[in-house]
């Protein structure tokens, strides 16, 4: 991440044998990251497809949107429809829409913080405003921290979600829903984790020597990855959580 970009000014035409300009004028790593994101589309489509294919195919509960009585193995839209079922045998719908709505909002806002971080780095050379509050708003550190914290908050929500699901009787081994749900969201969570580590690395550079407009590309690439992980969640939130 910290290595010097191929198109950095100190390479541009100072020596006769320096690297020739790229064919498109674009940076190598940015092209590679977009190709990587294209590839990731297929990865998440495979995972999401599997979840959708197995939706409604589990032979036993708990289920994402339905109530389930283990003793009679019956499914119902509501607790009332379930009829007679001992409390210990009753499993409520697993997915917790209020909590996930909150975590979805957190991840969306992390994308906002990310673009503001990029804007701050791009404008790092401009004279700083005098007001303390304005200075904070203009600082790349502020927004990188904000993004990382919001990302970590999302991961915290996910950890809460996973543990509460396990307490409610759903593990990755329980049924097809459990296997496909935990694998899909786990893969997404792993991507967020990598993103947070990436942001922390950028923050490390920022504290060490300050991120300058010349570093905008490094931030841009991390941002592209971060936003992609966000748009994947937009799809997951609708397809897995909201559609019943």
């Amino acid at each position: 991440m910290a290595s010097v970009a191929k198109t950095d000014p100190h390479h541009a035409g100072d020596a006769p044998h320096a690297h020739p300009p790229t064919s498109t004028g674009l940076n190598h790593r940015k092209i590679a990251v977009w190709a990587f994101i294209g590839s990731e589309c297929m990865l998440f489509v495979s995972l999401i497809s599997t979840y959708l294919i197995y939706k409604g195919k589990s032979l036993a509960g708990p289920y994402p949107h339905e109530w389930w009585c283990r003793a009679t193995n019956t499914i119902a839209k509501s607790a009332a429809e379930l009829g007679q079922c001992a409390p210990a045998e009753t499993f409520k719908p697993i997915l917790n829409i209020p909590v996930t709505s909150a975590s979805t909002f957190v991840l969306l806002m992390s994308s906002l913080a990310m673009v503001l971080a990029l804007a701050a780095v791009e404008n790092a050379d401009l004279p700083m405003p005098s007001g303390a509050w304005d200075r904070i708003l203009r600082s790349s550190k502020t927004w990188l921290w904000m993004t990382a914290i919001l990302g970590t908050t999302f991961l915290g929500f996910q950890a809460y979600e996973f543990t509460s699901f396990v307490h409610e009787g759903l593990t990755i081994r329980t049924n097809l829903f459990g296997s496909s749900f935990f694998t899909l969201t786990g893969f997404h969570g792993a991507h967020v984790t990598v993103g947070v580590l990436w942001l922390l690395a950028l923050l490390g550079i920022d504290y060490k020597r300050g991120l300058k407009p010349a570093d905008a590309l490094n931030v841009d690439i991390a941002a592209l990855y971060w936003h992609f992980v966000d748009v994947v969640w937009i799809a997951i939130f609708t397809l897995i959580y909201l559609i019943q």
């Binding site: 991440m1 020596a15 190598h28 190709a35 294209g38 297929m42 197995y54 195919k57």
Partner: protein, 622 residues
Amino acid sequence: MATMAAPVSGVHAESSSPSGIWSWLTTVDHKRIGILYLVSAMFFFVWGGLEALVIRLQLAGPNMGLVSADMYNQLFTMHGTTMVFLVVMPLSSAFFNFLIPLQIGARDVAFPRLNAFSYWVFLFGGLVITLPILFGLAPNGGWFGYAPLTTKAYATGYNIDYWVLGLQILGVASLAAAFNFITTIINMRAPGMHLMRMPIFTWMSFVVQFLVILAFPAITVALVFLMFDRFFGTNFYTIAAGADPLLWQHLFWIFGHPEVYILILPAFGLVSEVLPTFSKKPLFGYPVMVYSGMLIGFLGFGVWAHHMFSVGMGPVADSVFSLTTMLIAIPTGVKILNWISTMWGGNIRFTTSMLFGIALVGLFTIGGISGIMHSSAPADLQQTDSYFVVAHFHYVLFGGAVFGIMAGIYYYFPKMTGRMLDETLGKIHFWTFFIAMNLTFFPMHFAGLYGMPRRIYTYDAGQGWELFNKLSTAGVILQGVGMLVFLYNFIKSWRSGPVAGNNPWGAPTLEWALPSPVPDYNFAHIPTITSRYPLWDQKADELVKSEAETTVGGRLKTAKELGIPMPFPTIRPLIAALLMSTMLCSVLFIHAGNLPLAMTIGIGSFLGLAFTLVSWLTSPLE
């Protein structure tokens, strides 16, 4: 179209490049990495060929007992897996690495260290899959590894574990290489090297890289599910829990069919370089060749279920996939016609390379036509799982991919090593391969139509299969003879073949403007391209600096003397690849019931990998 005079210069670049094992372990030079791919893949080629030999000896007559049924399963699984992932793909990679920068006028790939990482990951993944056969523990579920047969309920041993892990490791290698080459081709073309001036090999490689980045995620996901099922008790392929037995098949073939084009398009590209050179004519219909390659790649994502006609998908799905499959025949047929038209009226020289190229056109057509037969679902129901299918895909993969790669090896050996392969031995190799190939695989059409199923380890007499099997076995033995001739020629010529000039074949593409072997910096100055066939249409001094400027005291100048910045050699990619492989393989100890050890190795490797990556990313490239 004046042919550029090809002065046979005695200048050798070898003297200026370091040698010794360490220089190969730390190399980030795309040409050396290409040679590493080539040599490793040839090793695996011999290995996979020996497996085929044992298979054929076992099937030479009815009720033979050379190997057990279990060993036979391991052999055919490993033969397929080896030839697909460890031979044809890396042989293609050898050419991607060696040729793409030279053909587009670049000094290296976009990410030289990532390139080295790809190679080492490939090597370790290959060893994880290959070595277990020495202990009778090789994967035994077929190269397609159909789940649920490969889940722990039906495959309790370690065998499938090696396959699941090895293929995931190999996937990382292919993906990393694909991002690298996509970036290289988009971004490192010399001035004037417009997309529509790129050599066809580079074009086909470009298409293949997109197939890789889109196909490999699907199999990665399928393998992750299988790995989770086997090691962590998930239910993706557990039918008793309601799983669909077709999930694996669909995910696998979403990868598997584009994979077929990943295997064949580079060979098509190589042949599209060889045929014009030895016909002394530009490639017929260059733009159509480019577009048909792209179309093959695109349509390749819409045909996967034609591998599954016999599972009962219903008439609508069968019809749709039949139609899309038949559609692919059009761009492929266009390519065949363009190659024939390229040779038509040309001044043909029958070098070994050209012979392999012409043979590809014929043999691939045979395999292509039997492929069109399968595209019809009712016909496929008769042929599926029989030796007819084995005949089909060996015609396209051996007659197509391997023959194309052989054409490429004979053609580019001088550029890689600076020496010529022996043409007499080469022709012996070609004719034995050509005869042996047809002797082996043509009778399989008949064996299949007479009802001989695939993957059986023995059969009873009196079903009309004996003769065909005898012929096939004889053919494989003859192939072995041809391979020995080739290996002898390869080793002998590398050591003491006649010195090749820059352009021994009078070829038109940019790589032939460079000295053979190519110096580590490739181009002393970056040329400006004004033609699709620069060496036929442009003057030599437009492409390369004069000998006076690039040599000193009878040897080529080093990068330092020319002031060209070169990437530092580094061991980090190798270490990162090794640690990534051990990290994945640590789950094997879960199977052994030793969770603490698995955790220790896994986490230890992960930390080591993280440390190596930080050290890699913070060390300067050049």
